[in-house]
């Protein structure tokens, strides 16, 4: 195995791997089970709401006070899905900029980790903005977490995901603050890598939610 740089060396471990990276993968594994339980709950309750509004079907009296169209807004969610996917691209480019700082081919914008971190943060906030717009419009149309089984399971699932995105944005902001203060270099690659793993995980969870909740009728 290649030798590690002394300034970045970690205490010896039985696996030879840094505990922080093992921990983030174990955490991501546990998060898989958390989101699987939330998605399972949504799917089990799917189509079992007694009163509207409903996700994919219109609702008429007596199930609703007035006629309501299907409540899910696919164009807005498609846009936010695209934004989150592109934020993952910006995140890997931030990691590549940190890992390859000063190397040929990584001059200019490609080597600017600050640019890519800012881009990731902006796209994360845009996603959260779309979610806030969606939640607000649902409430205005009469769907709250207490309205029916769809509302309860939908707001719980997407709310948990939104909370994870918010935590990711805060984590990215701390990395950006470090980058502005002293600059992130190859010796900090692990710090950025761990944050990137979390961010990509949030992205893959949304890939599953987008299909299972929004597109499957």
């Amino acid at each position: 195995m290649s030798t590690a740089v002394a300034s970045h060396a970690h205490p010896p471990t039985s696996t030879g791997l840094d505990h922080r990276k093992i921990a983030i993968w174990a955490f991501i594994g546990s998060e898989c089970m958390l989101f699987a339980s939330l998605i399972s709950t949504y799917l089990v309750y799917k189509g079992r709401s007694v009163v509207g509004p409903f996700p994919h079907e219109a609702c008429d009296p007596p199930k609703c006070a007035t006629h309501l169209n299907a409540i899910l807004n696919i164009p807005v969610t498609s846009f936010s899905t695209f934004v989150l996917l592109m934020s993952s691209l910006a995140m890997v480019l931030a990691l590549a900029a940190v890992e390859n700082r000063g190397k040929p081919g990584y001059e200019g914008i490609l080597g600017s980790s600050k640019t890519w971190l800012i881009a990731t943060i902006v796209m994360g906030i845009t996603f959260l903005g779309c979610q806030a717009y969606e939640f607000t419009s649902f409430v205005h149309e009469g769907l709250t977490i207490r309205t029916n089984l769809f509302g309860s399971s939908f707001f719980t699932l997407t709310g948990f995901h939104g909370a994870h995105v918010s935590a990711g944005v805060l984590w990215l902001a701390t990395l950006l603050a470090i980058d502005i203060k002293r600059g992130l270099g190859p010796k900090d690659a692990l710090l950025v890598d761990i944050c990137a793993l979390y961010w990509h995980f949030v992205d893959v969870v949304w890939i599953a939610i987008f299909t299972l909740v929004y597109l499957i009728k």
């Binding site: 594994g29 691209l89 190397k103 490609l110 690659a189 499957i216």
Partner: protein, 116 residues
Amino acid sequence: MNDEDFKHTNPEIDIHAMGEMHEHPTWREYKWVALILTLITVVEVWVYYTPFAQSTMFVPALLLMSAVKFAIVVLFYMHLKYDHKLFKALFTGPLIIAMCTLIALLFLFSNHPKPV
């Protein structure tokens, strides 16, 4: 290639700690991955608005496209394709348990009567 052979082109990077077994993709490869992910998403949304959405193949097709996107992000963006096998086990183990739990719950509750 085993981990004894691999040396990162940047000697400052502690590949031992990061568990990297291969060099990560370049930005050009990342760009292509992003393009593929975008195309799959466009197809997913497009089929939602076509008559194909009434077909029995609609749900399997969506699940397949979603699984491909999931795998691409995990393998290329999360670098699981290039990382240590312990990380692969730490992710795929719980993922398999999670998927089995999801499928079991769906079978368990699929015969429950729906409210009228």
